[in-house]
């Protein structure tokens, strides 16, 4: 596969466009160029390579708005980057200038402090001062390309910012009190979101669109970019030596086969996101290598069968599987999955019931007296709820209700048979002692329970609510063998 720039695949059309837009002669290249393409479409990479291999050695600098978070550091970064890049490019000019500067007045020095650039207006002044220094030193006018990589990744992006930049480049390039600036500042904006561009359709912005790669291209790119890396992997080379494979062709075919397997297995999950696939390749390559032996190394199908496990799940979880196994053996004793005690778990379940069940169902669900459980008096109006309460926000409840439900659902161990004399002395229900409140406090500090007032937990005006979703509660309930589903059946459709 031949391409216009080395190492850049499938982007010939875009490179041609770049070539016609980005020129050293400032008079024929646009002030602002947009490059739009979704994640992992090779925008940054192509541009980097373009500047690297361009014969004219274009003046350029990179700025990543993502790292700068908001606009103020951003304009400071513009000032700083322009200054630094020009200084490294033309050390003679800046050195001369430094010498002169020492003699100049203080005010001028102040204007060259990048930290003082706090507003677009100051930025313009600053750039003018900087660029005018090079006006005399240079023979030909040049373009200076400032690449704003990921312009739409600001955390406080607003519609004004880009217009400020448009204006800035216009003003800088038009005039400077009769003196023509030799270095023309041009901006290249790399953005992901096409809707961002739609807002500025009336500006007629030159835009290069980077489409997504299709799967064949993806495979080729990955083979091109990763195979060397995987071949050099320490484990793989060791394994190959062990299995007496020294033929590079053979090694390469193993690697290519692996990459294809990964893409085919996970394409539905990752889409054509190269970053995600790269990560998966990183995670799984060594496990794949471990699965190799003398029987299956030359037989891709056998190898796939042996290592099938790694292609069935993405393993994008920090909880390792062997962790789970160990925990399962631990559950026999006391502590379990959530590393909170049994009592805390029941309290959490009770809190969930409080938050997601209406109080009018309480007597129906929890009362031990049969006369309260039946009839309309127990549930009020019979109409079932249209919406599953679980989909709604957790409602607030008072702590007494929590304790009452907790008392109802907490299983007490009976040491004596019921009916025996000794069993009369035992409490069949849990009474809230210090332990219960300790566990409540723990749940609160784990933020599994939330309160309306943070300062005074003891205040009776304080209301509580549960702060965990259904999935976690289900997990917790399962770990103590508590069927929480039965409480939610029959009260909604």
């Amino acid at each position: 596969m031949s391409s216009l720039i080395p190492d850049v695949l499938f982007r010939d059309y875009q490179v041609e466009l770049l070539e016609s837009y980005l020129l050293d002669d400032p008079n024929v290249s646009p002030l602002n160029l947009f490059i739009q393409g979704y994640k992992a479409t090779g925008k940054t990479y192509t541009l980097e390579k373009y500047f690297q291999y361009h014969p004219d050695d274009l003046l350029h600098a990179w700025i990543k708005p993502l790292e700068l978070v908001s606009w103020k550091p951003f304009i400071q970064a513009i000032a700083r980057t322009v200054q630094e890049t020009l200084q490294t490019k033309y050390p003679s000019v800046s050195n001369n200038d430094d010498r002169n500067e020492k003699e100049e007045d203080e005010e001028n020095l102040k204007r060259l402090d990048t930290l003082s650039v706090e507003e677009p207006y100051l930025l313009m002044n600053f750039l003018e001062t900087i660029l005018s220094k090079y006006a005399t030193a240079l023979m030909e006018p040049r373009s200076f390309y400032l690449i704003l990589d990921g312009f739409d990744s600001f955390h406080d992006l607003d519609t004004q910012l880009i217009q400020t930049i448009f204006k800035l480049s216009e003003i800088l390039n038009v005039s400077n009190g009769g003196q023509q600036l030799k270095i023309k500042l041009k901006f290249i904006h790399i953005i992901q979101d096409s809707s961002f561009l739609n807002r500025y359709t009336s500006y007629c912005l030159p835009t290069i669109i980077f489409p997504r790669y299709n799967i064949d291209e993806l495979i080729e790119i990955l083979i091109f970019s990763r195979s060397k890396d995987l071949l050099m992997n320490y484990k793989f080379t060791e394994k190959c030596n062990e299995l007496l494979i020294f033929n590079n062709e053979e090694k390469l075919s193993i690697v290519i086969n692996f990459i294809q397997l990964i893409i085919q297995s996970f394409n539905s999950y990752t889409g054509n996101d190269i970053y995600a696939i790269n990560d998966l390749i990183d995670f799984k390559w060594e496990i794949y290598v471990d699965g190799m032996n003398s029987d299956n190394i030359s037989n891709p199908l056998a190898l796939y069968k042996k290592t099938l496990k790694i292609f069935t799940s993405t393993d994008c979880s920090l909880v390792q599987e062997n962790d789970n196994e160990q925990q399962e053996s631990d559950t026999v004793t006391t502590t379990t999955t959530y590393s909170i005690s049994k009592m805390s778990k029941y309290l959490l379940i009770a809190a969930y019931l409080c938050s997601y069940l209406e109080p009018r169902f309480d007597s129906f669900l929890f009362s031990l007296k049969s006369e309260l459980k039946t009839g309309r008096s127990s549930t009020g109006r019979r109409k079932k709820k249209d919406i599953n309460p679980r989909f709604l926000q957790a409602s607030l409840f008072s702590i007494e209700r929590l304790l009452a439900i907790f008392q109802n659902i907490y299983p007490m161990e009976m040491n004596w048979k019921s009916g025996s004399l000794a069993s009369l002395g035992e409490n069949s229900l849990i009474r809230s002692n210090v332990e219960v409140f300790q566990n409540l406090a723990e749940l609160d500090s784990l933020k599994l329970l939330a309160t309306t007032k943070n300062i005074d937990l003891l205040n009776h005006k304080n209301k509580w609510k549960v702060n965990v979703p259904w999935e976690i509660i289900e997990e917790v309930a399962k770990s103590v063998d508590f069927d929480i589903n039965q409480y939610f059946s029959g009260i909604h459709d």
Partner: protein, 645 residues
């Protein structure tokens, strides 16, 4: 009004510290809090001995516990710094794939201080540890600024330190550097410039090498991960990802997680998780996970009493359930329970003094009376009779002729409790022979006591091969009940885990239990004055008003009409006794007499009950028994507390 007093009035709650008279405490320190046992027949020396022995054992136990707890921290610190500052990990892979080194501390309460290894080890690297808590992480911008500010100040102090100590050396180095970097002096120049005008963004990390001439090992210690907005943390991680391309930067994240990993995972982006997963380690530091430390504390307790004391199965069971209920601080809890049981044992058992066999000289007839009643001893005698032992021997033991019972008792004193030995034996096999570390010594002890060792060991199939060695005959030691720590009448559960809420309610209902009986000061036979008779007759009928009202409160519905409540309250008040009491006291108090005289008597009574009622209602409000009903409706109050919950 002073500023502090004003600030105090604005508080929602107060903490009150009781003032203790230093004289009183000094006096109390002189006397021994133990009382004479054996119906008060115990001699003062024995009480003193008992007290001394208890203190000796207590401090011995606590010395060991302190040592163990200290060790936990040291162990942890070394373990963490091994993960964080590991030199051996293959830096190449980390660099190539550009990833953070992430360490998850599970079950952490974020109090662990992470300290960097001394800088002398590798002078080319600066270890910058940056603590981040939730206040510093409201959004990405603040996080970045705070982090960079801290990084700069760490770098700055470090620089000053080195310049202070090795100024000349550094100057020389600087010169050399200048000479070396002669070709690209502008970079150097840039570095110097940046020191003066640093902006707190990622350019600081990027130019770190130029500014401080050191490689950077940046360590973020993120505290209380649960309370931090995870989406901003997510973007912060993405942000820092771009610094990984610099060869002089190494970034480590330490996440303090108090719940569990999957909980955190659900709130982060998949790509971020993949980024973290490339090089991560999870360390469970909650001291309860794994029974290592609890085992050590329990073992040290068994050692403390030199294996003489038994622990009853009831007591062990109690410890086990309570420890299971408290997952985070159960080492403290264990120590507390053992402590308390030891104290209560020494407090109430007259035989406790004989744990030190020297004290057997103090054996008295009172002791022998109890010895004879011991079930194990009676069982032993029964065995002797069944075996047709010589009559004189049995009689001698029973009547302590020629002090034969004393000798018999002393003989048993010097013996060690076999169970403790067995526990050690089993633990030794598990740990050294089978390399099993996650056993629970307390549970092991329990299963030995109840004779269910086999079922406990079933979870480790490897134990099969030692089955014969691990077979123990159940042993009954004579007089063991005298040397057993027990939780018989629920003393421990009431003292360490009080039902304070129901206790308060009980006290309100049955005030006789907590308040001194009326006129206890009156000596017998003394005549009561007229006033005293009136007061006592009232006291017999009416208790504290809050208690009186609480009785009614119990019977009320969840919303209480204030007027009805008042009517009910009034009807329970004895009119005659109260009026007698008021009239009696109005003789001394002019304003009170005016209050009665001006009104008709039944109106006066109504007013008095109303006053009492109002006081009690306000008390209820402050105790938290009632609250306003849906605000703005003053006819009703809502009940907050139900008994028995």
């Amino acid at each position: 009004m002073s500023v502090n007093a004003f600030a105090d009035t604005q508080k929602g709650f107060y903490t009150i510290f009781p003032k203790i008279d230093p004289k009183v405490t000094a006096q109390a320190g002189d006397t021994i809090p133990f009382v004479k046992l054996l119906n008060g027949h115990e001699s003062a020396t024995i009480v003193a001995r008992r007290w001394d022995l208890y203190n000796q054992l207590h401090s011995q136990f606590h010395d060991q516990v302190d040592g163990i707890v200290e060790n936990i921290e040291n162990d942890l610190k070394t373990e963490i710094s091994n993960l964080v500052f590991d030199k051996n990990t293959d830096d190449d892979t980390c660099k190539r794939s550009q990833c953070f080194n992430s360490v998850f501390l599970l079950g952490s309460d974020s109090t662990i201080k992470i300290t960097a290894p001394p800088t002398e080890e590798d002078p080319s690297v600066l270890n910058a540890i940056i603590d981040m808590d939730k206040k510093e992480c409201p959004n990405v911008r603040m996080m970045l600024r705070r982090a960079m500010f801290k990084l700069f100040s760490i770098g700055d102090t470090d620089k000053h330190k080195t310049t202070g100590s090795k100024e000349d050396q550094l100057k020389q180095e600087d010169k050399e550097m200048n000479e070396d970097d002669g070709s690209d002096s502008d970079v150097e120049d840039l570095g110097h410039r940046a020191v003066d005008e640093v902006s707190y963004d990622l350019s600081l990390v990027a130019n770190f090498k130029d500014i401080f001439h050191k490689n950077l090992n940046l360590i973020f210690n993120i505290k209380e991960l649960e309370s931090i907005n995870l989406s901003s943390l997510d973007s912060f991680l993405v942000l820092l990802k771009s610094t990984l391309k610099y060869p002089h930067v190494k970034i480590t994240f330490i996440f303090n997680i108090s719940s569990n990993l999957s909980n955190i995972e659900k709130n982060l982006k998949q790509s971020t998780i993949r980024l973290l997963k490339k090089k991560y380690s999870a360390l469970d530091i909650s001291s309860n996970r794994g029974f290592k430390y609890a085992n050590r504390i329990f073992q040290s307790f068994l050692d403390t009493v030199e294996g003489k004391l038994n622990l009853s199965d009831r007591f062990i069971k109690f410890i086990l359930t309570k420890m299971a209920n408290n997952s985070n601080h159960n080492l403290k809890l264990l120590t507390k329970m053992l402590d308390y049981s030891l104290m209560s044992y020494f407090y109430q058992n007259p035989f406790s003094v004989f744990i030190d066999p020297i004290n057997t000289e103090f054996l008295t007839d009172e002791h022998f009376k109890i010895l004879r009643k011991c079930p194990t001893f009676m069982f032993f005698i029964e065995g002797l009779i069944n075996n047709q032992a010589p009559r004189s021997e049995i009689l001698g033991l029973l009547s302590n002729q020629d002090s034969s019972l004393e000798e018999f008792f002393v003989e048993f004193l010097v013996r060690e409790n076999p169970i403790n030995g067995h526990v050690k034996f089993v633990a030794n096999i598990l740990e050294n022979e089978l390399n099993i570390k996650n056993y629970n010594l307390i549970e092991l002890y329990y299963s030995l006591l109840t004779g269910e060792l086999d079922s406990y060991l079933e979870r480790w199939p490897a134990c099969e091969q030692f089955k014969r060695e691990l077979k123990f005959e159940p042993i009954d030691t004579i007089f063991q009940e005298l040397f057993t720590l027990d939780n018989n009448n629920g003393l421990l559960s009431q003292a360490i885990f009080p039902l304070y809420k129901s206790n308060m309610e009980d006290d309100l209902l049955l005030w006789e239990r907590v308040l001194p009986p009326p006129h206890s000061s009156l000596a017998e036979g003394e005549e009561m004055t007229e006033r005293e008779t009136i007061v006592s007759s009232l006291e017999k009928l009416v208790g504290p008003i809050t208690g009186q009202l609480f009785k009614l409160y119990r019977e009320a519905n969840s919303t209480i009409n204030i007027y009805d409540f008042y009517r009910a309250f009034k009807s329970t008040m004895p009119e005659k006794e109260i009026m007698d009491f008021v009239i009696e006291y109005s003789k001394d108090d002019e304003s009170l007499s005016r209050f009665i005289d001006t009104d008709e008597s039944h109106l006066a009574f109504e007013k008095i009950t109303l006053i009492l009622f109002m006081q009690a209602i306000f008390d209820f409000d402050h105790i938290g028994l009632i609250k306003e009903y849906k605000s703005k409706n003053y006819n009703f109050v809502e009940k907050c507390v139900w008994r028995g919950i």
